[in-house]
Symmetry: C2
């Protein structure tokens, strides 16, 4: 092939076009009804090129993970001393939330597609688990006790995810407002937490 079209050879260009094409096609026909060959065709590249940029058909929608991870771990690491674990997490997730709000034209349809596609939800959950572990590790670096760090990260992520979903369903309030509310709920839950002393199994 003589490359009849004017295709920039940078590589990053093709990558962006593939992401755009995939997002469009997943919206138009759904994830399962879209073939990787179709995505490649709309992006003007070969199917093989798709798999050079993304390891599989799902990953094309999960590109911002590295950024998000860096934002969260840095925010946790740079939080001032003396804060409680959940206070640290609230600060970190508010920063991450701002990224989502700024990229709303991309993140909103993306979240909508993921929500209705089981295969994509699985991948999303895996990413969340990985990020949660990274956040937990960042907490440990701050001196938070081992098990506590993991539980705090899980709990914080649950609040974050809950806030993001509420934001999609009810865009009248900002993501930040939803986040504050979720962490407030967490506080309510905390206050009512029971003492988990050893009891004979019922």
């Amino acid at each position: 092939m003589r490359y009849p079209r004017r295709v920039p050879r940078s590589g990053a260009e093709a990558r962006r076009r593939l992401q755009q094409a995939a997002l469009e096609l997943y919206r138009e026909r759904g994830f399962d009804q879209t073939t990787t060959a179709e995505i490649a065709a709309r992006a003007g590249v070969n199917e093989r090129t798709f798999f050079r940029h993304f390891p599989d058909k799902r990953e094309v929608l999960f590109d911002g993970e590295a950024d998000l991870r860096a934002t969260l771990t840095q925010a946790v690491a740079e939080a001032p001393d003396g804060l409680q674990p959940l206070e640290v997490l609230l600060r970190a997730f508010r920063k991450a939330g701002r990224i989502l709000e700024e990229n709303r034209p991309f993140s909103e349809p993306r979240l909508a597609i993921i929500a209705v596609t089981p295969a994509l939800r699985e991948r999303d959950l895996a990413k969340a688990a990985s990020l949660t572990e990274a956040v937990a590790e960042a907490l440990r670096q701050r001196g938070v006790a081992d098990r506590l760090a993991g539980l705090a990260a899980h709990t914080g992520w649950a609040a974050f995810h809950h806030a993001a979903q509420a934001w999609i369903d009810d865009p009248s309030q900002s993501l930040d407002a939803h986040l504050l509310q979720a962490f407030d709920d967490l506080r309510t839950l905390s206050v009512t937490a029971p003492p988990a002393q050893a009891q004979p199994e019922s």
Copy 2:
């Protein structure tokens, strides 16, 4: 084919043999290096039969989900009145934990394989999310506030998962002991939870 071997035609038999064969092969060569044709061959059936019993290669390891779901939701529903949400969850997860401990010869290698196989971890996370949602719904049926139910279920599941992992890594203590400890940690986290009042974004 004249069915030369003595094969019980019940269907449930073939299903059990497929699960057993898959578990063995995943341990021997790993999930990715195992073919569905190989699983079927070891189970003495055709590859097509594998896909009649299980929708895909992963699902063969996730058969107990319905039982687990029933156990958890029933335990939540039948817990005595007046308990805090996390108290209810501790009771429910202790019952679920007993199932795992009783089936240890199966659940232990199963969890070990899942832990080292990304594709299986994804599916495991999806199952966990589904069960968590069921538990949250069961809490709502008890009158727990909407958002609180979701957060409590997430938090409780995090503790449950943490305890199960600790049990695999350190079998010297019972799962039940690990569970009590995890919920105790949760209580520590709760006590130190910060007030999440509205603050200007930094």
